[in-house]
């Protein structure tokens, strides 16, 4: 029974959503059910936060490596959560200030690390070892050149229109329109089949590993 009833719950929840797509009169029921999910997520985050706090509390208690940093983590979590829950999250609140001057700069800098990593990854990976890798690197270089003015700077004013297909600008647009669309589209179609069959197995209880042990 520890697995059967949850399986029925999963089935009912999923089938309501699928039916709603075909049966307009179920719309309000389905949107109600979808809102329930948001409530589950809101409760679940407490489980995660508790896990995070427990791990870091134990680290401090046992004086394990890097334990002082765990204190920073715990203080940060409580400060942000308490400020947000009790004094609101709107503009001009403490929460907003902490977001703007702590979280946002760290988040956007972490994101900006990608500027460096695209370079190091390209350096390592884009070597013409085989046909596949060569295609990858040639396409990447053409598109990169087509993106910035410097890529077309060598093209003189009198360049004949009949030779436009030799310019990075033109090639970039065609590669994106044709090759990129084709490749992405095949991935989307293939993956959709995988998703549909996995969903089906979940709803019918054929796939139940997510429920854990018997």
């Amino acid at each position: 029974m520890r697995r059967e009833i949850p399986m029925i719950v999963a089935f009912v929840a999923g089938v309501i959503i699928i039916l709603e797509f075909f049966v307009p009169s179920l719309r309000s029921v389905a949107s109600q059910v979808q809102n329930w999910y948001l409530v589950v997520v809101a409760f679940a985050i407490l489980v995660g936060a508790f896990n995070l706090l427990r791990m870091n509390y134990m680290k401090v208690r046992d004086r394990r490596a890097d334990w002082p940093y765990s204190i920073i983590l715990i203080v940060g979590l409580f400060t942000m959560a308490i400020a947000g829950i009790f004094w609101g999250i709107g503009q001009g609140t403490v929460f907003d200030w902490l977001f703007n001057y702590l979280m946002f700069p760290m988040s956007s800098t972490m994101f900006a690390l990608l500027a460096f990593f695209v370079a190091s990854a390209a350096y390592r990976a884009f070597r013409a070892r085989a046909v596949d890798a060569t295609l990858l690197l040639v396409a990447a270089i053409i598109v990169m050149l087509g993106q910035v003015p410097i890529g077309s700077i060598w093209i003189p004013e009198w360049w004949p229109h009949s030779l436009v297909f030799l310019t990075p600008d033109w090639l970039k647009d065609r590669i994106m329109e044709i090759f990129n669309t084709a490749g992405q589209r095949a991935i989307l179609i293939g993956a959709s089949l995988g998703v549909v069959s996995t969903s089906l197995r979940i709803l019918l209880g054929i796939e139940r590993s997510y429920l854990g042990e018997e």
Binding site: P24, S28, L52, F111, V118, A121, I189, S209, Y210, E213
Partner: protein, 391 residues
């Protein structure tokens, strides 16, 4: 008599003058039950008053009025601003099954004129979305393929699957980590458990965890979602049980960091540079963080195997990881690793889905070619594309 004529003339003149000030009514007012909905709503449409179009008199806007009898007491429902070529208003406060009558009032600076009552109209819920019949057929067909081959597989039919290089390497990677005495890191994406890629990821985690338990290596699973953490804990625990090593299961190794995309990456990067795993797995839904993870993982010299169906992130995994499962291969992975009949069967079902899709694509482009010349069947263009329009 003279005075009588004068009166008649005066009346006529007044009538003409009055007519000049009367607004002409909105045209073609119509009301009908909102076509595809759960009931409780009626759509009204009308076209502008000729006065709005030729600007002979100023039209400020329109009003929608409703009553339960044609001559009954009308109540105003809505104001609609003027300035469109046609108008539409949806009355969302109708009760199902009740007869309603509507009037559209055109409103000028001083005058206003009503249309004749429109109705009766009843609101009703609909039971089937007719425009989506093609989706229903597709859903049923695909499901039938999958279920048929699952039953075939269960009945003991031998099913073949081609080699998938990335998955051959899973065992090797776990083995290497064991030899080096270093942990295995498994990141199940940053989406929540309602994403099917996450489900695929935790299913593969189950297979990887069994190998790790058998080899007696250490498994680290940082999660970005509480629900994923809970699920991963259940799955890994079961995998250790299955491998006969329940004692080696440590719940603390499957930990939650934060829901935040980049906060999570900062944390995982920290785990990588300090715990130095020898094998990194990135399976599931990833966004921009994919390359940050994979490049940091490469810098610590780990074997890296990734898998995702996010087309935008595949290039980065391909560039920075040793092996990458592309799109559908992610969903094939659990079948491939476990060789369980029910999973293999559904994979074969997916293949038949692809055969049908390829057939329609090829047939579709042929008809698209012919349609250019205006070929028709039963008075309709022969292009197959109409079959694939979903509203």
């Amino acid at each position: 008599m003279k005075s009588a004529y004068a009166v008649i003339l005066l009346i006529a003149a007044l009538a003409v003058a009055a007519h000049g000030q009367t607004l002409r009514t909105a045209e073609n007012a119509a009301a009908a039950d909102t076509p595809v909905d759960a009931g409780g709503s009626i759509d009204l449409t009308w076209e502008p008053s000729p006065d709005e179009l030729d600007a002979k008199a100023e039209v400020l806007g329109y009003e929608v009025w409703r009553a339960k009898r044609p001559a009954g007491d009308y109540k105003k429902l809505a104001d609609v601003e003027a300035g469109k070529e046609s108008y539409q208003h949806t009355d969302e406060e109708a009760e199902n099954g009740v007869e309603y009558f509507y009037k559209v009032r055109v409103r000028g600076e001083k005058m206003s004129t009503d249309t004749a009552p429109v109705g009766p109209v009843k609101a009703a819920p609909q039971w089937f979305h007719k425009d989506r019949l093609n989706m229903l057929v597709a859903a049923v067909l695909l499901s039938a393929f999958v279920l048929y081959y699952i039953s075939q597989a269960r009945a003991g039919k031998k099913l073949f699957i081609r080699r998938i290089a990335g998955l051959e390497a899973v065992q090797e990677a776990v083995g290497r980590a064991t030899e080096m005495g270093k942990p295995v890191l498994y990141v199940p994406g940053i989406a929540d458990i309602d994403d099917i890629q996450t489900i695929a990821a935790v299913t593969i985690l189950g297979r990887v965890a069994t190998m790790v338990a058998e080899y007696d290596a250490n498994l680290l699973v940082p999660c970005s979602r509480s629900l994923v953490m809970s699920t991963a804990q259940e799955i890994v625990k079961e995998a250790y049980l299955e491998a006969g090593r329940p004692d080696a299961y440590h719940r603390e190794n499957i930990r939650y960091l934060t829901d935040d995309q980049f906060g999570f990456v900062a944390g995982v990067d920290g785990i990588m540079v300090r715990e130095k795993p020898a094998a990194n797995f990135y399976m599931g839904t990833f966004y921009a963080e994919s390359l940050i993870l994979a490049e940091t993982g490469h810098s610590i010299g780990a074997i890296q195997i990734a898998g995702t169906a996010m087309p935008s992130q595949l290039p980065f995994f391909i560039a920075a990881c040793d092996y990458t499962l592309i799109g559908e291969e992610l969903f094939a992975a659990s079948a491939y690793l476990s060789r369980e009949p029910r999973l293999l069967g559904s994979l074969i079902g997916q293949d038949w889905g692809k055969v049908v899709i390829l057939f329609f694509i090829i047939a579709g482009v042929i008809t698209a070619f012919l349609a250019q010349f205006g070929f028709e069947i039963f008075g309709r263009s022969i292009a197959l594309e109409q079959l694939f329009v979903v509203k």
